[in-house]
Amino acid sequence: KVNLCTVSLGVEGMTCGSCVQSIEQRIGSLPGVIHIKVSLEQKIATIIFDHSQQSPESLSEAVEDMGFESSLSESSTAT
């Protein structure tokens, strides 16, 4: 059963479209990630994911692993 959740992560250290693209591609290809949208202006990554495969913490870690600073700002459950 798929348990969809939405999380917004604060991401620091992005300066251009290429940073955004690498995050979208890499995080977007993780198992359980359904959709990702990164905003350069707001420094936020909004991710829709399957809670049985990922958690806000694991996603935040994945972003940090790429060399960006990530913070859990808010998380909410979607239907």
Binding site: G13, M14, T15, C19, S22, G67
Partner: protein, 68 residues
């Protein structure tokens, strides 16, 4: 220690900043980054494969140019 030269597809300071941070997390390396030339020099005893994988974490294309 051998000095390895890598070509990393960095386009901005955010990219080189990300490379800096992932390399800082890896212990036992000293490195220099030349953003205009898209080159990263790493001085380390670690396997090239390990360094390669670390650089690839940034989600950028990485090419190994050999030791200098």
């Amino acid at each position: 220690m051998p000095k390895h030269e890598f070509e990393v597809a960095m386009t901005c300071e955010g990219c080189s900043g990300a490379v800096t941070r992932v390399l800082n997390k890896l212990e036992g390396v000293t490195f220099e980054i030349d953003l205009p030339q898209k080159l990263v020099w790493i001085e380390s005893d670690k396997d090239v494969e390990v360094l390669m994988q670390t650089l690839q974490k940034c989600g950028k294309e990485v090419k190994y140019n050999g030791t200098k």
